[in-house]
């Protein structure tokens, strides 16, 4: 998103060797504000540079009246908010000219105004927007503990054919809540959920998020490779007819 210098040099070096899928944190599909035109302009320039097959960002809000919280804030799960959010996702996709996946965020608060569960809201938005899902399994687990719901209800009741990518990560346990910190190995219950998710959506590109207190490359790499084991085990026990189509861009 920057104009020059070392960040772009590094990006170009990566693009020479790898296919890059863009993931962002600042579109804020759920904000009531109109899009920041400057942000979208830069994003489009970057999309052209990376040739990303799709672009993902979070199903959240984070700015109001041009002021930014730099956080991924949960939305009230109402039909009106779902329509508004879906319209913005469609507008962003039309402008950027790439498919979009929205990621479920971890949350620490719920609103009285909500009219449905989070997974119903996610399903409503992606169906209205006709977009993909970036399924963050750790976020579901964190939110399920913070809001007392069964995370498997979430996994079982979303449109699985729309899942284009999966995120896994570690989190931190505090006395009264869990916090999505991306600074630990993935915990066992999250791996179990991941295995279930793979069973439901089929083999899907998976990203391990570890962006704080980062250990050696080998440790992070080994953790990421665990995902292959869960994927292979699950797919071996799933008959071909049970499998959902693989992810598409």
């Amino acid at each position: 998103m920057v104009d020059g210098g070392r960040p772009l040099e590094v990006l170009d070096a990566i693009l020479e060797q790898y296919r890059v899928v863009q993931h962002g944190v600042a579109i804020y599909f759920g904000s009531a504000d109109k899009f920041d035109r400057e942000h979208l302009k830069r994003l489009k320039r970057l999309v052209r540079r990376t040739n990303t097959p799709w672009l993902s960002d979070h199903l959240c809000w984070g700015s109001v009246d041009g002021r930014y919280t730099h956080d991924l804030l949960p939305m009230p799960y109402t039909f009106a908010v779902a329509r508004h959010t879906a319209e913005k996702i469609r507008a962003a996709r039309d402008h950027l000219e790439v498919p979009i996946c929205v990621e479920n965020v971890s949350s620490y608060a719920e609103y009285h105004a909500s009219e449905m569960t989070e997974w119903e809201f996610l399903s409503e938005v992606v169906e209205l927007a006709d977009c993909g899902i970036l399924l963050d399994v750790n976020n579901i687990y964190v939110s399920s503990k913070n809001h007392n719901f069964d995370p498997y209800d979430y996994l079982n009741n979303i449109p699985h054919h729309r899942v284009g990518q999966i995120h896994i990560a570690g989190h931190s346990k505090f006395e009264k809540y869990l916090l999505d910190t991306h600074d630990h190995p993935v915990l066992d219950p999250v791996w179990k959920m991941y295995a279930h998710a793979i069973k439901l959506v089929g083999s899907t590109a998976t990203l391990l998020e570890w962006d704080d207190r980062i250990p050696s490359f080998d440790e992070v790499h080994n953790e990421a490779l665990k995902a292959n084991k869960f994927r292979d085990e699950q797919l071996a026990t799933t008959t071909a007819s049970d499998q959902f189509p693989g992810p598409t861009a």
Binding site: V2, D3, G5, R6, A26, R67, Y68, E110, A113, N148
Partner: protein, 287 residues
Amino acid sequence: MAATLFRPLTPQWGMQKRWTDGSRMHDMAAEFIKPNDRLSSFERLEIYNRQYWFRVLDCLWDDYPGLRAIVGARKFMKLVTAYLARYPSDSYTLRDLGNRLEQFLEEEPQWSAPRQELALDMVRFEWAQVVAFDGPSKPPISPDDILDTPPSKLRLGLQPYLSLLELDYAVDDFLIAVKKRESDVLRGEASNAVQSAPKAARRRKRIRPPKREKVYLAVHRHDNMLYYKRLDPEAFAILTALSRGATVEDACAEAVTASNRTKIDWPAQIKKWFNNWSALGWFCRLS
């Protein structure tokens, strides 16, 4: 909800108990946030309030080590809290978080007193580094591009990532010393040998603030590495005039006329400067 997030935390890093009109935040939070079996509405909202402030304060802490060293860590936190309370982030990127810090220090000198001028110099310098790191660049002009244009008609643009700073303090040397001290501390924390050293040896050395002296500085990048380069006053004057749109001839004449230095072969000196600036890729076409 956003308004509550932007309100500064208490000195104990908690959410303020009262809203601006005196009403209880517990009641206000309960109006729109559900409690659960472990956390009240207030406590759930407080998680986001704290996350916001920890994130933005952390960002400025990392980006402005020079300002932090000048005013001291405790006062720095108060300063940047007051800054963000007045000027919340207006950009989608945290890179721009300090873009109005200079303006704020000019408007509210009490936060950097008694070293306001030094603090202002440092903030200009630290912001220039943000710009130099990832600011835009234009295709540099080569000497061949301008061969046929006489200096009386030649106007040159300067790279957008290049900042020219006229400073009253040698903040460049000061910042280098500050960063060296911080990296020494980091190394010390990673080493058992330092842990077993006498306490006196482990104590952080205080870096004396710089004395007043005129410094002309170019903050730029070369091969995508960040550099700061001291300039002679006349060199600074030429570059500043060029950035205003003056012709090369007028910029040089203006700088030499204003100089009180004698016994300098100005044509040779100016040629040397231009060769150097051209090699660094500082010149581009005027937009």
